[in-house]
């Protein structure tokens, strides 16, 4: 009995820290959770320019999923997402590994690779809009060098346009990924490399089987950064193609914005953003369960 009453109530453990975090907890609850709940709730109404509480059931969702533009957006997000994830990782890691081999002028290269990240997506989009324009950009240059039949026109081809956007996104983003990976590589103990060399393990095997598994925390951070960038991609598309040709490069975030503000149809925009939230939840929840659930048991 006595020993139990002496044990402090877990609620009051680290009381100072808990009081200090109250403002942030409130912000999170009211702004993030509250705002999200409000959005989801109003996605079941027929709100136009101003939110109004007139319940219409699943009408907005039915309209959403029968709109070709939305379906194209989702498809694009999947293509762009999968490729962007893979290529960011591969290119970022390869660049980092090369810089990590103690090459000359490492600082210069690092700066060059990281520079595009200093540009906003709007600027990146405009630069690549011109570079990929058939009449002014790469195609024009190659043709003027004498290869008359050369064709490289992704932005005006419905099938290829999403890859044109991918190129610009990778150009802009891989520098950051490289830096994250490089920081991870630098934190690997020199002794591990020495030990691997003594054991006669080839360099590529050392990377693949020793270094990469050790970089797991860095990879998780990188994954979160890339994934969030994928879901919210908007400005790049607006600057580079405006969603065109036709709807070929539309993305969900653009659909949400266009219907909320240009179409003055909040209900439709809310329904679309709720679907975006749902897709994030579907990805995040199992991952968080695996990641944190296991740590809890450990």
């Amino acid at each position: 009995m006595r020993s139990q009453s002496e044990r402090p109530n877990p609620l009051f453990r680290n009381l100072n820290a808990k009081i200090a975090s109250i403002p942030m907890v409130l912000t999170a609850l009211v702004v993030f959770v509250g705002g999200t709940a409000w959005t989801v709730l109003y996605s079941f109404t027929n709100s136009k320019l101003l939110p109004r509480w007139k319940f219409v059931g699943l009408d907005q969702y039915e309209r959403l999923w029968s709109t070709p533009r939305w379906l194209v957006s989702i498809e694009n997000l999947f293509i762009y997402g999968a490729l962007s994830l893979v290529f960011s990782f591969v290119i970022g890691f390869l660049l980092a590994a090369m810089l990590d081999r103690k090459i000359r002028f490492e600082d210069t290269f690092r700066t060059i690779f990281l520079y595009p990240f200093a540009l906003s997506f709007i600027v990146t989009g405009l630069v690549w809009q011109w570079l990929l324009n058939p009449d002014f950009g790469v195609q024009h240059v190659v043709r003027s060098l004498g290869w008359e039949s050369f064709t490289f026109n992704p932005l005006y081809d419905r099938e290829l346009v999403i890859y044109g956007i991918l190129i610009a996104a990778l150009w802009q983003g891989t520098g950051l990924i490289m830096c994250l990976m490089l920081a991870g590589l630098r934190s690997i103990d020199e002794d591990i490399w020495k030990a691997a060399r003594v054991d006669g393990i080839p360099v590529w095997k050392t990377y693949l089987f020793i270094v990469i598994p050790m970089l797991r925390p860095v990879f998780v951070t990188t994954l979160v950064i890339i994934a969030s960038a994928i879901v919210k991609v908007y400005d790049l598309v607006v600057a580079q193609t405006g969603g065109g040709p036709g709807h070929a490069s539309e993305v969900p975030a653009k659909y949400v914005y266009d219907y909320m503000f240009l179409g003055q149809n909040l209900g439709q925009g809310f329904a679309a953003s709720t679907m975006m939230l749902l897709s994030v939840v579907i990805v995040i929840v199992p991952w968080a369960y695996l990641e944190f659930g296991r740590r809890g048991r450990r």
Binding site: K48, P68, P245, L262, G263
Partner: protein, 414 residues
């Protein structure tokens, strides 16, 4: 006519003087999205006229376009930080703000200055009214229904400059053979939608246009008459196949340089020809209503709305601004710079160029019709533009499919 305009001018200046005497200097912020060279010069005329009443115009230009600016304006008004006055296009963009009671009515000024009598066409004032109250001041008329043609392109192709849409379509193969893109078209939904509506009005006629957009008659939208319009849109799609540009002014530039035969775009495109130093009739030709018989123009354009303010002095200044914007002197000065047409029929525009005069004649004859901005909601308009963007980009999308989806949109329109 002459006498009337003089009296109107006198009345307006007398009113302006009376106001100037009574009010002190009040700052009034006016938001708008007129930021290009010609537009900024035009807006400066409004500011000058307002400052002359003893008040002070605080310029709240929002760069980008209407699409960028409108959400900012709306959120300022709904968020409780209203400006003194704000631009919107004629029509339904501010409808809900008015319904929510966020805009003040201008009945007193309108009655005093007889807006009902002077604003021409009357549909403009109707567009400003809700339940019999006036909520906005129309300041200009921009018509969409123009076909701009490059005389050089047709000379290069060895065909004569067309005088209507059908001749233009017939001349397309010759243009293509000469390596010229027949139709310049920026690959954005609103431009493609605009072109389509121009075809609808020119080929389908006024009645069909109203049946579709005013009565929202899905049967007419899916009918045989409408099929002709879609056929024409299909021609346009083929003619614009090689037009690899996005912005409307880039497309206009193709026409100016003779790389494209023509472009169907509103009268704001004329500013580009003027800046490039081209002369109407010599370097370029303009066909109102695409040159088809019974040319009709839509009376889109810009209006100013006045949010409700608590400040007495500012409310007073709002009325003065409304009055100044409609005064004949300001109307002439503003619209000549803007390249648009005045909203009152009793002002004299002898300095307007040939193309603008053609437009004014149509306006004077009363061949006007409400623009789609006034007839359908922004939501429907966005859906329609989406469909057009898809139709013009997918060469393999069949005309029947497109028409069926168009009829669906019209059927569920509001």
């Amino acid at each position: 006519m002459r006498y009337r305009s003089v009296t109107a001018m006198l009345a307006a200046s007398a009113a302006a003087l009376a106001f100037a005497g009574s009010a002190g200097a009040t700052d009034l912020e006016v938001t708008h999205w007129w930021t290009s060279g010609g537009e900024a010069a035009a807006v400066a005329e409004l500011a000058k006229a307002f400052d002359a009443t003893g008040n002070h115009w605080v310029d709240g230009a929002i760069a980008g376009s209407g699409d960028t600016a409108r959400p900012i304006m709306v959120s300022r008004i709904t968020g409780g930080d209203p400006m003194g006055a704000t631009q919107f296009n004629h029509g339904r963009q501010a409808e809900e703000l008015v319904e929510a009671g966020l805009m003040r009515n201008l009945d007193a000024v309108a009655a005093k200055e007889n807006w009902k009598g002077v604003i021409n066409p009357p549909s403009l004032l109707e567009g400003c009214m809700l339940d019999g109250h006036v909520y906005c001041v129309p300041v200009n008329i921009h018509a969409w229904q123009w076909l701009w043609l490059s005389n050089k392109a047709f000379a290069d192709a060895g065909v004569k400059v067309p005088t209507n849409w059908n001749e233009f379509v017939a001349a397309a193969p010759a243009l293509e053979k000469a390596g010229i893109t027949p139709l310049a078209l920026g690959k954005q939904g609103w431009q493609e939608g605009g072109l389509f509506n121009n075809l609808l009005l020119a080929i389908g006629g006024k009645d069909l246009y109203l049946k579709v957009y005013q009565d929202k008659d899905a049967e007419a939208a899916g009918g045989a008459e409408m099929a002709k319009v879609f056929k024409a849109a299909d021609d346009a799609r083929k003619m614009a196949k090689n037009s690899n540009v996005q912005d409307w002014n880039q497309a206009t530039n193709l026409v100016i340089t003779g790389k494209a035969g023509g472009q169907s775009m509103g009268d704001w495109a004329q500013g580009e020809f003027q800046v490039a130093g081209q002369v109407a009739g010599k370097d370029y030709s303009c066909l109102v209503g695409l040159g088809m018989p019974n040319a009709t123009i839509t009376t889109g354009g810009d209006s100013f709305y006045f949010p409700k303010l608590a400040d007495e002095a500012k409310s007073k200044a709002q009325e003065e601004l409304a009055s100044v914007m409609l005064s004949p002197k300001t109307q002439v000065a503003f619209n000549l710079k803007k390249g648009s047409m005045p909203v009152r029929g009793d002002v004299d525009l002898t300095t307007a160029n040939d193309c603008m005069k053609k437009g004014l004649e149509v306006l004077k004859a009363g061949n006007v019709i409400k623009s789609t901005d006034e007839l359908i909601s922004p939501d429907t308009n966005t859906q329609f533009n989406d469909l057009m963007a898809e139709f013009f980009a997918k060469q393999d999308m069949s005309v029947e499919d497109a028409q069926k989806r168009f009829a669906d949109i019209i059927g569920s329109a509001d």
